[in-house]
């Protein structure tokens, strides 16, 4: 049984990193494709002799579109870079909202593919949390993956943060119709989650309507 847990944990970790990298590369390739077509369009316009003063606004629009794509790509690189560096140290003081925002940005594509809206509702001015952000992201991913798989298209998942006393909480709230029963692919998923939350010194509870609440002490284990 111990080996089975280990195998399921490794499978979850690999799936997590694989999904993040696949989503990231997909987004970046799309941004580059738009930049290529936009610069190609400028080339086409020059070759066609569209060089009068009246054409300037069109050129400026295309240049703006290129700048927008570069901006989006840079933001995505920042998310991936932060995500990777969270694994440098096991325990660190981090901002919960930034940690969740980065996770949502990196996983958003998979929700979008199923026409599910993945959105955030963050309480501002949360205290910094001293804990293991990588494990927290993996834990939240395990719930998001399950809910994205279960929800039918046009569903919605809100990731809400909040603080109570000396704890912070992440609430995962799905809305919509579940196409299949809200079950896990791995038999030992609950055991893995229990292990994660034990490492974080927190608590997992189920709210109403398939909501999941993850609570973490601000000052760590």
């Amino acid at each position: 049984m111990e080996n089975k847990n280990e195998e399921d944990l490794k499978a979850l970790q690999l799936r997590f990193v694989g999904k993040v990298i696949a989503g990231f590369t997909h987004e970046i390739k799309n941004y580059l494709a738009i930049i290529k077509e936009s610069s190609g369009l400028i080339g086409d316009m020059i070759k066609m002799g569209k060089l009068s003063e009246d054409d300037i606004p069109e050129y400026l629009d295309i240049i703006q579109s290129i700048e927008d794509q570069i901006g989006k790509a840079t933001e995505h690189f920042t998310h991936l870079n932060r995500f990777s560096h969270r694994m440098d140290t096991q325990i660190s003081a981090f901002n919960l909202n930034e940690c969740m925002e980065e996770l949502i940005a990196l996983l958003n594509r998979f929700a979008r593919q199923k026409k599910i809206v993945l959105e955030t509702d963050f309480q501002q001015d949360l205290p910094p949390v001293k804990s293991n952000p990588s494990i927290l992201q993996l834990l939240v991913f395990s719930f998001l993956e399950k809910k994205i798989a279960g929800l039918e298209k046009n569903g919605r998942i809100t990731v809400r943060t909040g603080a109570v006393d000396n704890a912070v909480a992440v609430k995962i709230i799905p809305e919509g119709t579940f196409a299949e029963e809200d079950t896990d692919a791995g038999m030992t998923a609950d055991k893995i989650r229990e292990n994660f939350i034990k490492q974080l010194g927190g608590n997992i509870s189920q709210g109403t309507a398939k909501e999941t609440v993850i609570t973490l002490p601000v000052h760590g284990v």
């Binding site: 997909h26 738009i34 077509e37 190609g40 369009l41 086409d44 316009m45 979008r112 199923k114």
Partner: protein, 129 residues
């Protein structure tokens, strides 16, 4: 038949990509429409009657392969070129098995894509004569 008569439908969930590519193809004397997902593309087939469809593979909702299958079931004469940034060799084989005309990687060189569209159009003419 003049190249102007080629009707193309660009299907891609990246709106900026679809619109820019459509604009570049129009500058090459083609009549080009756009659709931003598979369902929208299928709903336009009857009215717009494209000769050639440039189809993305991974889109929200319907997957490109499912869209290709539906196009070929209802409108076998329409030629479909898959244009994707994320396809594998197996996807290419599957696209051809389902009747796709070609399978290109995104971003494609515009001259190369134009050449493929022309060839696909010739194929469509052959099948409809």
């Amino acid at each position: 038949m003049k190249q102007k008569d080629i009707k193309v439908l660009v299907v891609d969930d990246e709106v900026a990509f679809a619109n820019t590519l459509a604009q570049r193809l129009r500058m090459r004397d083609m009549e080009v429409g756009t659709a931003y997902d598979g369902e929208q593309a299928l709903s336009k087939l009857n009215k717009e009657a494209p000769d050639v469809i440039i189809l993305d593979l991974k889109m929200p909702g319907m997957h490109g392969m499912d869209v290709l299958q539906e196009i070929k079931a209802g409108y076998p004469e329409i030629q479909v070129i898959l244009l994707t940034g994320h396809g594998t060799d197996r996807d290419g084989e599957e696209a051809r098995r389902l009747g796709g005309f070609d399978f290109l990687n995104k971003p494609a060189d515009i001259d190369h894509l134009e050449c493929k569209i022309r060839k696909a159009f010739q194929e469509k003419l052959k099948r409809t004569v």
